[in-house]
């Protein structure tokens, strides 16, 4: 088994609050790995530790065996990690296709001087970039909407555009932060199928944060559960469904235990 991402004892504190406490995870290559947990469990903080927006106080983050600690978010993107956001964060006045082209930034090389002179290399690169952006637009099913401003797209299309933008950097690992937030069951089912396509057609590993249990159980190969910053369980969807600690974290203890 090739390991795409591994975290070892990651700790992140804000003052006295331990947001992420000693979390170990192993995400195998080409798998769909979900992190779930109640609100405020530290899931997004954990993401920010992986993508370089936060530096963990303790522990290490390894990507294909290489430590990501101390790298800035843009450098980590160059290593092959891309992400989406819980609350959609597109470049709202730019067109859909331009959003994707910003995502391609890390794969392009033209400098400002080349841009002014328009060297043949730069012209060729730009052409290929537009071509690739159109292809991705098609891939996520937004063909024909490319010249629309991102903020004018419908909600579901914005979610998919955000994924297309993340894919534009040709990542090896994609971090999705609640991709089905605010979606109805139909749209959620479409998103599940889409996440499978991402793995099967593009061969990338996926780390997923999700609230929607049905989505998580249907899509994941493996699930880890965070509560108060700690990993309280890890396993296959069925194992997690029957884990008493998970049920407790989500629903509270049974009344009988309080009475005792």
């Amino acid at each position: 088994m090739i390991v795409a991402l591994e975290t070892r004892g990651v700790v992140k504190q804000f003052g006295g609050l331990v947001a992420v406490n000693n979390v170990d995870l192993v995400v195998p290559e080409n798998s769909i790995f979900s992190v779930i947990g109640p609100n405020g469990a530290g899931k997004t903080t954990f993401y920010n530790c992986i993508t370089g927006f936060y530096t963990p106080e303790k522990g290490d983050v390894l990507f294909y065996g290489e430590s990501l600690l101390g790298l800035s978010p843009d450098q980590i993107t160059y290593h092959g990690i891309a992400r989406t956001y819980q609350n959609i964060r597109l470049f709202s006045t730019m067109s859909a296709i331009e959003n994707i082209m910003v995502g391609e930034h890390s794969r392009l090389n033209a400098s400002w001087a080349e841009a002014i002179i328009r060297t043949p290399r730069m012209v060729k690169e730009e052409k290929a970039a537009v071509e690739e952006a159109r292809r991705l637009l098609n891939f996520v099913g937004l063909a024909g909407l490319g010249d629309q401003a991102a903020r004018n797209l419908p909600y579901g299309a914005q979610r998919r555009l955000e994924i297309a933008r993340a894919l534009a950097s040709k990542p090896k690992l994609l971090l999705l932060d609640e991709p089905t937030a605010g979606m109805n069951p139909n749209e959620t089912a479409e998103m599940v199928a889409f996440v499978h396509r991402l793995r099967d057609e593009l061969g990338i590993s996926i780390l997923l944060i999700e609230h929607d249990m049905r989505m998580v159980m249907g899509v994941s190969d493996r699930i880890a559960v965070l509560d108060y910053g700690e990993k309280i369980a890890e396993g296959s969807p069925t194992e997690i469904q029957n884990n008493p600690r998970v049920i407790e974290a989500y629903l509270g203890k049974p009344m009988s235990e309080y009475e005792a």
């Binding site: 067109s95 910003v102 930034h105 730009e126 159109r134």
Partner: protein, 517 residues
């Protein structure tokens, strides 16, 4: 009916307050003088039994009255003729009452010898008399009331007629269908779609730019030059604010550095270095760029308001340093630097026309560089930073590098502007570089349309060119600007010529206007 009554009263009060305000600041007199000049009426002549100034005033106040009527008719669209007229009369009456009251009060105060211009400096006896159509207070006030009611009625009636017959709609349709037919001619359609169309347009523009300076005369060449330099500054600030989203309020600092570089290196005093202008030109740009890069270092982690305040302070620091006693040996102090050298090419000294060409050339260069950068990986990175810096980092964009780049290129344009400005005026001093320059350039960018090159040009014309054209409004310039800015932001919040997005998905689709420009 009740709501209509209310809207008529409201409109009347609004127009009344506007007229009253224009009267109190003396604008009614100035406007009358302008109309008198525009119509080329001699001060001594009489028109329709009035002297020409009173006639001009009647025209002016009559236009406001008409406007009130037009406004009422438009807001009562779809109502029967009687209702429209009634509401217009009501508006006119309220408008007239307010104006008449003001006219009567000021008129009688004036007649009893109270000097109102001690309190309101523009309320001169002549103004008051004019406002009363040169009549007694009672007669003047009554004439105002009657006149404003009548004009409102006329305005509403005419507007109603136009709306019912839909004259403008028909004209627009006719124009549109004609335009369509012209475009349907295969040869014309093909020509418009071909790349040659833009070449022809550009050559026409170039011809205008070559010939206008030859015919315009020294004064207009000077004004055009100032506008050109502001376009240059605007293009630079457009990169920093419009594209990269870094609110820089101390932009004048880079302009000052360019100006002082050329001044100190080419003037006989205070350093006696009389270097060649062409050698100093790139040095000025380089100096401004370097300072731009240095300024980024402390402000790197700042965003929005904090960045604005720090840059504002930086701009002031440069100006205060340039006039400080401690640095007089270096900068010439508050007196500034005289006899700045201008460009000479093979023994031929640049006159106003050729200097204007030099400015135009610089502007074209700046437009070229801006366009190339905007449509590249760098431009997209800037715009993404403007939209969301955090996400932009997550896309692999090196924020530090792109901020430095934006500041450096913006500063380079400003440095070039400063060099051209100082060398043209043959002088530069601390007061050339006060905060108002930054504010004006920023206003030009915002009024024109952030991130849009045609917008910056339009904005610079509005902010630097219009005041020259409207010289007679000199006293009201600030008022006019403020009004213009407020109206602009309400009517066209994205600017006069907002940035249009390039089309990528359907680049070669027919009828695609976006990619042709």
């Amino acid at each position: 009916m009740k709501t209509q009554l209310k809207s008529s009263l409201n409109a009347g009060i609004t127009f009344g307050i506007v007229s009253l305000f224009l009267y109190l600041i003396g604008f009614t007199t100035t406007a009358s003088q302008i109309i008198q000049n525009l119509l080329k009426l001699k001060p001594a002549s009489t028109v329709l039994g009035m002297d020409s100034l009173t006639f001009s005033f009647a025209l002016f106040i009559g236009l406001i009255g008409l406007w009130a009527g037009v406004n009422q008719a438009r807001s009562q669209k779809g109502q029967p003729f009687g209702t429209v007229l009634l509401s217009a009369v009501l508006t006119g009456l309220v408008h007239g009452l307010i104006v008449a009251l003001a006219a009567y009060i000021t008129g009688s105060l004036n007649a009893s010898g109270v000097k109102m211009n001690t309190y309101l400096s523009q309320l001169l006896p002549a103004s008051v008399k004019l406002f009363l159509f040169n009549q007694t207070p009672v007669l003047g006030a009554l004439s105002q009331l009657a006149f404003l009611t009548l004009t409102a009625l006329v305005g509403a009636a005419v507007t109603y007629g136009l709306m019912v017959s839909n004259v403008f709609g028909k004209l627009a349709d006719a124009w549109r269908s004609m335009w369509k037919q012209v475009n349907a001619v295969p040869a014309i359609a093909k020509f418009r779609a071909s790349p040659y169309f833009s070449y022809v347009m550009y050559s026409l523009l170039l011809l205008v730019m070559v010939f206008v300076p030859l015919r315009a005369g020294q004064y207009w060449n000077y004004t055009l030059g100032t506008v050109g330099i502001y376009v240059l500054l605007g293009l630079g600030l457009n990169i920093v604010v419009g594209l990269a989203g870094l609110l820089n309020l101390g932009y004048v600092a880079f302009f000052a550095i360019g100006a002082y570089t050329v001044a100190l290196l080419t003037s006989p005093a205070p350093h006696g270095l009389v270097w060649n202008f062409w050698l100093v030109l790139p040095l000025g740009i380089l100096a401004a760029t370097l300072v731009g890069v240095l300024l980024v270092v402390p402000v790197l982690r700042m965003r929005g308001d904090y960045l604005a305040i720090v840059t504002l302070g930086f701009g002031e620091i440069i100006r205060i340093l340039s006039k400080s006693d401690a640095l007089t040996w270096l900068t010439g102090g508050p007196k500034g630097v005289n006899n700045v050298g201008g460009p000479v090419l093979f023994g031929w000294v640049f006159d106003d026309v050729s200097y204007l060409y030099l400015i135009f050339l610089s502007v074209l260069l700046a437009i070229f560089v801006t366009r190339r950068l905007q449509n590249s990986r760098v431009g997209r990175a800037w715009e993404s930073m403007r939209e969301d810096e955090t996400v932009s980092r997550a896309m692999g964009i090196n924020i530090l590098k792109h901020k430095v780049l934006a500041f450096a290129i913006g500063a380079a344009f400003a440095g070039l502007g400063g060099v051209l400005f100082a060398a043209r005026n043959q002088f530069t001093g601390p007061e050339d570089h006060n905060m108002m320059v930054s504010i004006n350039v920023l206003s030009a960018v915002i009024v024109g349309g952030m991130g849009s090159i045609p917008g910056v040009i339009a904005g610079a014309f509005v902010l630097k060119g219009l005041p020259e054209i409207l010289r007679e409004l000199e006293n009201y310039r600030v008022l006019a600007f403020a009004t213009l800015l407020v109206v602009m932001m309400l009517v066209r919040p994205a600017g006069i010529l907002p940035a249009s997005r390039r089309k990528f998905e359907h680049e070669n689709a027919p009828g695609n206007e976006g990619s042709k420009q």
